[in-house]
């Protein structure tokens, strides 16, 4: 996979270095991967970093710990709860249709991520492999839409869905109508992933495809048999990124989801904060809200640890758009 570092297409002089690194590959000029200073200095930097890491992790630790405390002790700021009270999690399960929210988030996330991966993969391959009239113009359109603030299209897109009846109760093909707007748009590719995947496809030597054409592949089988397997790391990046983005989203669920059993986890957490937060009068039942926040966050942490290298590659690629 190391050929990913040599772009096949003619690159403009100012083009950033090629995109996604193959898994496990050290950045090209893997210069400072070894500590350069004296051991004493390195020890100093390490201590500093460990301190900062604790600072960054502390909110997580605090939250998990608070979610296991009884109501009166939530704010005692003790790292280990003096009374363990895991039944907060049972309470939140009873207080709200948590299981439905969880399933909703998961299935919408999978559909959103799957749709965007397939469609963006196709479009990106179209841009990367073929030479055709208006290619640069269309690609400029892709880049331009990346910059477009979501607020401009938000209202008309809502009106389309509303006009089609997808903001009302009811089901369509067995799925709740209100949930369709959360993922259907992904069937039509997303600029950011088109950009990312195109970069990756450009890194595959053209001869690979020419050889496939010689072997009698048509465009489709060439895409499916050659491009997709070679681009697997980038396609996984796309899937994981979009799943996470879909899971974390609050804006669309706020706009489209009206019935509480159709909520996603963030939408549900938002409502729980209103129901159990202090603004509802009194001190509020923070332990319930905190337990729900933990439930909303844990899957993301798990996914991150499973797909860590993909995240780092995907993010680092963004910076090279420069």
């Amino acid at each position: 996979m190391s050929q990913a570092a040599s772009p096949a297409g003619p690159a403009s002089p100012a083009a950033p270095p090629p995109a996604v690194l193959a898994p496990g590959q050290v950045p090209p000029a893997g210069r400072r991967w070894l500590p350069t200073g004296s051991p004493l200095k390195t020890a100093f930097y390490m201590t500093l970093l460990i301190g900062l890491s604790i600072l960054f992790l502390y909110p997580f630790i605090w939250t998990v710990s608070a979610s296991l405390k009884p109501r009166e002790e939530v704010f005692d700021n003790k790292l280990i709860p003096s009374t363990f009270h895991p039944s907060n999690y049972l309470d939140v399960w009873h207080a709200a249709p948590m299981a439905s929210w969880f399933v909703n988030s998961a299935y919408i996330g999978i559909l959103a991520a799957g749709a965007v991966t397939v469609s963006s993969g196709l479009v990106a391959f179209g841009f990367a492999y073929f030479r055709f009239p208006l290619r640069n113009f269309f690609f400029a359109c892709v880049l331009a839409t990346m910059m477009l603030p979501g607020a401009v299209t938000m209202i008309p897109v809502y009106l389309i869905w509303n006009h089609l009846g997808f903001t009302h109760p009811g089901t369509f093909l067995g799925l709740a109508k209100q949930q369709y707007p959360l993922w259907v748009q992904n069937v039509f590719a997303s600029p950011f992933y088109v950009f990312l995947l195109r970069q990756f496809f450009l890194g595959i030597p053209r001869e690979v495809f020419e050889a496939a054409r010689m072997d009698g592949d048509n465009y489709w089988t060439m895409f499916w048999r050659m491009a997709v397997p070679l681009a697997k790391p980038a396609l996984i990046v796309t899937f994981v990124f979009e799943f996470v983005a879909s899971w974390r989203d609050l804006l669309k669920p706020l706009i489209y989801l009206r019935d509480d059993h159709l909520y996603t986890i963030p939408r549900g957490l938002f409502v729980l904060l209103g129901q159990y937060g202090p603004s509802a009068g009194g001190e509020g039942d923070w332990q319930i809200i905190i337990a729900a926040a933990v439930i909303a966050t844990v899957p993301m942490i798990v996914i991150f640890f499973l797909g860590q290298r993909f995240f780092v590659e995907g993010i680092a690629t963004q910076g090279r758009k420069g």
Partner: protein, 317 residues
């Protein structure tokens, strides 16, 4: 920005002919087939809605009653709407606090990481974790950590004998608190800067050191120019994102029981969202959306013009 050097252009006639001939090739139609999903998406979910949004901004529309054409009335109204100027001010102040702070902290962390060798991987993971947290949970966390009487931040300040402000209720401290909370999620930028730092060739540092450049000179004259494309990219992206801040602030200040929220936390997109989906002023909200588009466009152009002098692309010149 980058100026692509053109190959010696053949006569205009032959170029146009070649261009037109492209449409006869099988390749072209195959390519358009691959692009079909994007074509549909572009027209149905981007270009179409943009046009529709502009037309809507010239009307009064609340979904229930019929549409009234009002010309530029919405735009006139938003100039005189005190909430609009309040929301713009809040958003700009927050952006001016968040963007430089995020860039500075992320660069600091990335430079630390670049000095510890392979161990950097572990720390990079830790710094990235907050980016994964759903923004609703970030909003909840903000309310807890920054609570004036029993939040962790003020408890920590008490230890060093500082009476912390009431972050979530004192209008002067709402935005600084939110900006501090945003710093928790600098991880993505750390990853980008670390990758950029790794790409700076060691020879440049060696050469600079030989010329007697000290630590600061090497940072200013080697590191900064070499990573300036990454800095520039994150500067633009962070600003655009920050001008559209919504979820964590809406969660913390505008949940079900306090629909009016706090004026100090009324950010632009929050006001737009309320106008569109709470009050169903679709026309007015569309005008607000176009004003946001304009503001973002102006800010971005200013950034590009200002940055042109400071961004160095290798291979150019």
């Amino acid at each position: 920005m980058a100026t692509v050097s053109r190959a010696a252009a053949p006569g205009p006639g032959s170029r146009a002919r070649r261009w037109a001939a492209g449409f006869k090739e099988r390749d072209t139609w195959a390519a358009y087939a691959f692009l079909t999903p994007w074509f549909i998406g572009f027209f149905v979910f981007t270009a179409g809605p943009m046009v529709a949004s502009f037309i809507l901004s010239l009307t009064d529309y609340d979904i229930i009653s019929s549409t009234q054409y009002v010309g530029l009335e919405n735009y006139r109204q938003l100039i005189h709407d005190p909430k609009v100027s309040l929301a713009i001010r809040n958003t700009l102040v927050y952006t001016a606090m968040t963007v430089p702070a995020t860039m500075a902290v992320a660069l600091g962390l990335a430079m630390l990481l670049a000095r510890v060798g392979r161990a950097a991987g572990v720390f990079r993971t830790i710094f990235y974790l907050p980016v994964m947290t759903p923004l609703v949970a970030v909003g909840v966390l903000y309310l807890l950590l920054f609570n004036g009487s029993f939040g962790l931040i003020n408890r920590a300040l008490e230890v060093i004998h500082i009476q912390g402000p009431f972050w979530t209720t004192d209008p002067h401290w709402v935005k600084p608190g939110l900006a501090l909370m945003a710093l928790w999620a600098v991880g993505a930028n750390v990853v980008i800067y670390l990758a950029a730092l790794m790409g700076v060739p060691q020879q440049l540092y060696d050469a600079a050191a030989m010329d007697g450049a000290g630590r600061w000179r090497r940072f200013r004259d080697v590191t900064l120019p070499m990573i300036s494309p990454a800095l520039f990219f994150t500067f633009i992206i962070l600003t655009i994102a920050s001008l559209q801040t919504f979820e964590q602030v809406y969660t913390a200040f505008f949940n079900a029981n306090t629909p009016t929220g706090t004026d100090a936390a009324l950010f632009y997109v929050i006001y737009l969202f309320q106008q569109a989906f709470t009050f169903l002023h679709m026309g007015y909200a569309s005008a607000l959306a176009w004003l946001l588009f304009l503001i973002i466009g102006i800010v971005t152009v200013i950034q590009i013009v200002l940055s042109r002098r400071f961004v160095y692309y290798e291979g150019e010149r």
